[in-house]
Amino acid sequence: MINTKLIFKILGALLNIEAAFMALCLIVSLFARENDLVPLAITVGVTVAVALLFRLLGRGASNTLSRRDAYLLVTVVWIAFAAFGSLPFLLGGYINNVSDAFFETMSGLTTTGATTIDQVEGMPHGVLLWRSLTQWIGGLGIVFFTIAILPSFVGGSIKVFAAEATGPVQSKLQPRLTMSAKALWGLYLVLTVGCALCFFLFGMGAFDAVNYAMTITATGGFATHDASTGYFNNPAIDYTAIIFMFFSGVSFAMLYAALFKGRVKHLLKNAEFRFYSALTLVATVIIVAFLLRYNDYSFSDAVRVSLFQVVSFLTTTGMFNEDAAQWHHITWVVLSLCMFFGGCAGSTAGGFKCARGVIALKILRNEILHRLHPKAVLPVKVNGSTVHSSGQITLMAFLMVYFVLCFIAYFIMILVGVDSTNSFTIALSCASNVGPTLGLEIGPTMSWSILPGFVKWILSALMLMGRLEIFTVLVIFTPAFWKNN
């Protein structure tokens, strides 16, 4: 049955890592001399204590992690991280109820970036850094977890599970598992540091630069200003953000090969990357056209804000430099479509993933061709390798579950009285880990604090499922999971 001891053991080790990150914020707080010193210190203490308790409980665990254990572990780790991560907000009184605090942290760890804090700017630096750090940890968390942490605790038999949990449709398409954790984190660090340096050069303060860089490379979207990057009103910063968001949405394995091994051609020929780029381009052109037609924008501004918004939604970052609520409604449809597709598989982005998008569209094309040529055997080929019918069914099942979950969330929000556009985009935003919503009641630039408490719990669950590719979490709720067979 479930290897509880091992789960405790691993959980204990991981909570220690979380505590280490919290300690980093504590140091910042020490220098800033603000009122978050005590809450952070208590949090670190509690987390370390619980971590030690867990390690104690997990003593002498056998090192065999079954498939079930792995599914359970991933979900439990995420929930535990969110629970302990919400302590600083609660203890410091920056968020005054548990639902909001948990939602905020879960939104961070899943790199969603939806916030319940109405006024970010007044908050102390230590807590702000912690808020950004949750996203940075969450960005590559699942990858790091499956390829670096788990193998160190158990044998190498975890690959099967990792292939499912990390999002790729077919492990063959995604060479990412063969990449070492070191290379992956190296690239992540290079992107973050590069982004921070660029921001710093273009006139951002050091603290802001680091925060924005972390949330952008994690495609999270938490900002240290209420107006997000719009606060700076600086095209150089906007374009830096666009470039780094775009690259964070590309498969890290391919990006690594292109940047450090010079295999740029390989990247440019990749079907997923092409789809991702084409989507960016088409969506931008449409929005630019609408902005020029219905809003008073100069051409350069229209290009800048629409590109920013498209890349932000497509990579599921959710930063904004302009209030998209003021735009024509059709632009919302385009942005919703971007939210749905998300970035490339194997990146920090969420969503349905462009790889799945490419395959789903090919399946659709084949179905139509099949009407004309009933006896044709039509392959679904992506980058030269065939996606077999079992893989196609899994993908369609994923698509269906994705929509069913969105629909349930939509339904519940309609019940509690949120307006229709908002309900729809909130559901999509959570399932794809984007962050902002589009609509009349809650605009993309506003916080979600007015939503009722229990809706936030539901949305937290939706975000977690979205981040962990749905099935990983869903399987735990099936009776078969708990049966002894």
Partner: protein, 448 residues
């Protein structure tokens, strides 16, 4: 010259027959005694029965030590490769291995094979595919043979009304200015090497020699202007040859492959790596299936199933349905003449192609290229005229060449030109010779 052939299947048997006709010293080795007996019944050669655990003994018996050419054409490509390496190390001068894998024909790989002792690699499916693709490009031609990279071309064409050159003596329609040269005529079962008094008649199968720039004009002369360029091809039978054909086909040509076996359909999708190909899981022999996939819109149908009868009938059906160009692959030599008389555009025989290719290796280095013309049971070959050879001594009409030899054209400094009686062949010219019932080695003498 001593030739050892391993494998008495279709290709091996055909080779044995070909070589024994030109009085070579042939040894054929196989495990199947029945096959050996069958070959020995109509060819003059030595047969050796081997068993898989005594290959060395059978090699020694065959005299591999002083063999000039060792050919391994068994079905197992790995066995062929290793047997060639073995034969080379035991003293065979030249070795040829048959393979089934496109990777093995890559230049670097063949170099590596050379170093290991395998002189040549033959890939029958690919040879057939080259031929099929080249004749689909000229849909109005039954057979096409390019000499010297296309400077000269020999075209085999089935004559049909209306056509301006039919039923008139050749001396009326041809002069030294005409852009073509009629080399041979196949009428019924006879092969005619024409003189000025002969005429071309409807249903004749005529071999023309022409140069590259006159190919469009030839299309007009033989009255085949209404033949379309091939853009849509239907292939029936998704075997290895079909895969090679598809991979060699120009990118703009759309292909549909009919394959009855579902598992093979999936495999085809795996191995075919290009757009514009659709695999249809249906029996291509059924008219209903062909109609469902719009056969009337297809420009060409290529029948490549393993069954010669089915291929012939499918092509005839397609012709009835209005497909202008049909290609049938035929494994059985006995059907060649029937197929030739039926309404089939081009007939492809893998064994014959392979045999021609190997035949070329057997001849001295001066023969660049040779092709066995199955329809007329004759060979065309390209010879290089040597300094002081008989062929360069006089004008062609004064040479008193045998009636069975016809000079088609020559390539001088890379430029193709036709040969007539007044032509003086110069040393260094590459001359195309058509010869019927003649030992190639006799022709070699004229050129040396």
């Amino acid at each position: 010259m001593k030739v050892i052939i391993v494998g008495a299947d279709a290709i091996g048997a055909h080779l044995a027959e070909l070589f024994s006709k030109i009085k070579q010293n042939i040894v054929i080795i196989d495990e199947d005694e029945a096959k050996l007996e069958h070959i020995a019944s109509y060819c003059d050669l030595l047969t050796i029965k081997s068993s898989s655990n005594t290959p060395i003994k059978s090699f020694r018996d065959a005299g591999v030590k002083n063999a000039d050419l060792f050919i391994s054409v068994k079905r197992d490509e790995n066995l062929n490769l290793s047997l060639c390496v073995l034969a080379k190390s035991m003293g065979a001068k030249q070795t040829v291995a048959r393979v089934e894998n496109p990777e093995f024909t890559e230049p670097q790989i063949t170099d590596a094979f050379n170093r290991a002792g395998i002189s040549s690699i033959i890939y029958p499916d690919d040879l057939a595919a080259q031929d099929i693709v080249s004749c689909l490009q000229l849909s109005w031609v039954s057979q096409r043979w390019d000499v010297y990279d296309g400077a000269l071309t020999m075209l085999g064409i089935k004559m049909k009304e209306p056509c301006e050159v039919l039923s008139r003596p050749l001396k009326e329609i041809c002069n030294s200015e005409t852009p073509y040269h009629v080399i041979a005529i196949k009428r019924g079962t006879d092969t005619i090497i024409p003189t000025g008094n002969d005429m071309l008649l409807p249903n004749d199968y005529v071999y023309f020699m022409t140069t590259k720039e006159f190919i469009p004009e030839m299309k007009k002369i033989v009255g085949k202007e209404d033949y379309p360029d091939v853009k849509n091809v239907i292939i029936v039978g998704g075997g290895k040859t079909a895969v090679r054909v598809v991979n060699r086909m120009p990118k703009e040509v759309k292909v549909k492959i009919f394959e009855a076996n579902t598992a093979r359909c999936e495999e085809l999708n795996e191995v075919i790596d290009r757009d514009g190909v659709m695999v249809i899981n249906a029996d291509g022999r059924s008219v209903a299936n062909l109609l469902e996939e719009n056969i009337r819109q297809a420009d060409a149908l290529v029948a490549l199933t393993g069954n010669a009868e089915a291929n012939i009938l499918t092509c005839m059906t397609a012709h009835e349905l209005g497909v202008r160009k049909t290609v049938a692959m035929i494994e059985n030599m006995d059907y060649m003449s029937i197929a030739g008389n039926a309404e089939i555009g081009t007939i492809i025989n893998k064994q014959a192609l392979t045999a021609s290719y190997i035949y070329q290796l057997l001849l001295k280095g001066d023969v660049r290229n040779i092709r066995n013309l199955l329809m007329v049971n004759a060979d065309v070959a390209e010879f290089k005229a040597r300094e002081g050879s008989r062929i360069t001594s006089k004008r062609v009409c004064d040479l008193n060449l045998s009636r069975q030899i016809e000079l088609g054209g020559l390539v001088r400094d890379g430029v193709g030109m036709l040969v007539n009686g007044n032509t003086q062949i110069q040393p260094g010219d590459n001359v195309v010779v058509f010869c019927q019932d003649t030992n190639i080695s006799q022709i070699e003498k004229i050129f040396n």
